[in-house]
């Protein structure tokens, strides 16, 4: 029987000093988390702006409102731990160490992008930082992460793999097949559902009769509910979970409860037929992870408005720098078109059949 740990959302009225102490987070770290989330917010706003004027094309899914799901989940990890995600992954890549410039240049489709402009918004990869993508098929990345867990165990390493998915992904067979295998082989994988309540425009409650927290029960995988708007709780949970998994606790499942402040993608409405404007406004007002942490830190006199303005100014500068860098980066050259289709072009035989000059 799976154990289920439920952690209630912390009340904002609680004293911050004691709260930081309770979760074992230093003042300095708390300020860092705020700094990180501000960067993610400003980065995504910059991407939004660039999309609006046509500098970014295709699908572009923003993480605005869900920043704690990048800072809180990834910052506690080691640099050699693996992170994999779906397509709302810009900020998670940055949290894992991918330079914001490389992420923005990828969104712009430029040569200096993390995939040389060939992946785009949904396919950020960085082998050096062990950011394993950036995948565009709902749930498709979940078996891949299970395979990374397999490799960690096969090579007897002490790293962990954290994989993110949206709430809609748990209805894919890929999810259940993966959890079953992770359980029978005790793989070091943390399966994180960024549960923002809606799979595109479909409320989770309309496509599942069981609660999210129960989704891993059938596989005997411990489930954890984490308030994904509270970055301190998220950080503490992932710090502890990663350590447990590193020490052989086996796969874990996290229902990271969060909320998306924007539409599913840049081409989708923020609200409308599937959720009301009031609902979104209420969440923005009451559940903004940045504002929640800011208020805690200010209440405890760890932050004043000048320091906040300075911090925010730095975040805006970095986001602008990323955009300027992307703007100045060259478009991929003609040679890039056929490059890296194959890792190994065999000595014999033809691999390309379009009859074009390469």
């Amino acid at each position: 029987m799976a154990q289920t740990k439920e952690k209630k959302a912390k009340k904002n009225s609680k004293k911050a000093g004691s709260l930081l102490e309770e979760v074992g987070i230093s003042e300095e770290l708390a300020l860092d988390l705020l700094r990180d989330m501000l960067l993610y917010r400003r980065f995504e706003e910059k991407a939004e702006e660039a999309y609006a004027i046509g500098k970014i094309g295709g699908f572009c899914h923003l993480h605005i409102g869900q920043e704690a799901g990048a800072a809180g989940c990834i910052k506690p990890l080691r640099s050699d731990d693996y992170v994999m995600s779906a397509y709302r992954e810009h900020t998670q890549a940055i949290a894992k160490g991918v330079p914001p410039r490389a992420v923005m240049a990828e969104l712009y489709g430029r040569a200096d992008g993390s995939s040389g402009g060939k992946g785009g918004s949904m396919h950020i990869f960085d082998a050096e930082h062990r950011f394993m993508g950036g995948h565009g098929i709902v749930g498709g990345q979940v078996p891949l992460a299970t395979g990374i867990g397999w490799k960690i165990k096969y090579r007897e390493e002490d790293t962990v793999c954290v994989v993110f998915m949206g709430d809609a992904a748990v209805n894919q067979g890929a999810f259940h097949e993966s959890l079953n295998m992770a359980a029978i082989w005790n793989l070091p994988v943390i399966y994180v559902v960024e549960n923002n309540e809606y799979g595109m425009g479909t409320a989770f409650s309309r496509v599942s009769t069981t609660e999210m927290v129960k989704k891993s029960c059938a596989h005997g995988i411990p489930a954890h509910v984490v308030n994904g708007q509270d970055v301190l709780e998220t950080y503490a949970s992932f710090r502890d979970l990663a350590e447990e998994v590193r020490n052989g606790a086996g796969p874990q499942f996290v229902d990271l409860q969060t909320y998306r402040f924007r539409g599913h993608s840049m081409s989708d409405p923020v609200s409308g037929t599937y959720r009301s404007t009031e609902e979104v406004d209420r969440a923005k007002k009451e559940q903004d992870p940045i504002a929640l942490l800011r208020d805690i830190l200010m209440k405890e006199d760890l932050l004043d408005s000048d320091a906040l303005d300075e911090m925010d100014g730095e975040a805006r500068t970095m986001a602008q720098d990323a955009a300027d860098f992307a703007d100045a980066s060259p478009k991929p050259d003609r040679e890039a078109l056929y490059r890296n289709v194959w890792a190994e072009e065999n000595e014999h035989g033809r691999l390309f059949f379009d009859g074009r000059d390469r």
């Binding site: 990869f125 395979g147 990374i148 014999h348």
Partner: protein, 326 residues
């Protein structure tokens, strides 16, 4: 040369490559304790242990994706499908993930993985278990496709596939597992991908084919010989990379060609080959190229109907006579 079955040749290839490289492991349904549904992995569990010879749950999508992720992280998985008929459940992981990963990441992640198992029809297994699946994989850039027809080719090509840094769909023949043939005893017998093999030489007509259909082609060539017709039988061995030089060479030599394949005609491998020959050797052709394929229907169960549906040596002889205007 040693004489062994196609099954034993595959088993040897797996054993040798696993001895050579500790990152190679085999995963699939019934591959370990049961010794493989077709006994290809016989004895390997005893030799390499359960860490490297792994029985999976019946979760084609799941364990295929696990292999893809493991390959991304640096291992060299061999994923066995009990048959490629079951691999449709996993094709998202092969096409959308394995085949595209290297390109999407601009070369940061390679995908040294082999997906192997039997393809095509056996005997009276009816529609869902009797289909040739090559073209589903050869269609996608980023995925190599290998179809050995003899024990020697099975061994040499599987070793090459395991060593290749790209995903390879390695498609065997269920009816070939007991087929015996000579296999070089060389310790490191590897057949490079992309090299076709002229299985029989003739000058009147070319029968080009791949996989287990080479045996049908050779049978047809035997019949034609009695009639004074000498056929080149060219075995492609790998569909991608494709040995276009060898195809053009035989086309230019005999000027008349028949493509034989086990799969369906529409957008089949033969369709691709015909298109390329007419683009690159049109002036050498003395007749339109004909294709012999499975009947364009799901495979029926009844023995007589199944025999009618499968491409046969008689179908090939008939097509050859047409391209020779006899």
């Amino acid at each position: 040369m040693a004489v062994m079955t196609y099954r034993e040749a595959l088993n040897e290839a797996l054993r040798e490559e696993m001895e050579r490289d500790p990152d190679v492991f085999l995963m699939g349904e019934e591959v370990a304790e049961y010794d493989g549904a077709y006994k290809v992995s016989k004895g390997l569990l005893d030799e390499f242990g359960e860490k490297r010879i792994v029985d999976s749950p019946i979760s084609e999508l799941g364990f295929t994706g696990l292999g893809v992720g493991a390959a991304m992280a640096g291992l060299r998985p061999v994923i066995e499908f009990m048959t490629f008929n079951f691999a449709f459940l996993a094709i998202d992981q092969v096409i959308n993930h394995a085949a595209k990963m290297h390109y999407m990441s601009e070369g940061q992640f390679s995908m040294p993985i082999v997906f192997r198992g039997p393809t095509g029809a056996a005997l009276q297994l009816s529609a869902q278990h009797s289909q040739a699946c090559e073209t589903y994989y050869s269609h996608a850039p980023g995925c190599k496709v290998v179809t050995p027809g003899t024990p020697a080719d099975a061994k040499g090509l599987l070793k090459a596939a395991i060593r290749d840094d790209d995903p390879v769909a390695f498609m065997e023949g269920e009816l070939l597992y007991n087929f015996k043939g000579e296999v070089p005893e060389d310790d490191d017998f590897v057949i490079p991908l992309g090299v076709a093999d002229l299985k029989r030489e003739g000058s009147d007509v070319s029968i080009v084919t791949h996989g287990k259909m080479i045996h049908v082609a050779l049978q047809a060539a035997g019949k034609l010989e009695k009639d004074g017709i000498e056929a080149d039988v060219l075995d492609l061995r790998t569909i991608r990379p494709l040995d276009m030089d060898a195809i053009l060479e035989t086309a230019k030599k005999t000027n008349r060609l028949v493509y034989l394949e086990e799969g369906w005609p529409y957008a089949g491998t033969g369709a691709q080959i015909v298109s390329m020959i007419q683009e690159e050797a049109f002036d050498y052709l003395d007749a339109p190229i004909l294709r012999v394929t499975q009947a364009d229907i799901p495979m029926p169960y009844a023995k007589n109907l199944e025999m009618m549906a499968k491409p046969s040596a008689d179908h090939v002889v008939e097509a050859v006579n047409k391209v020779l205007y006899r």
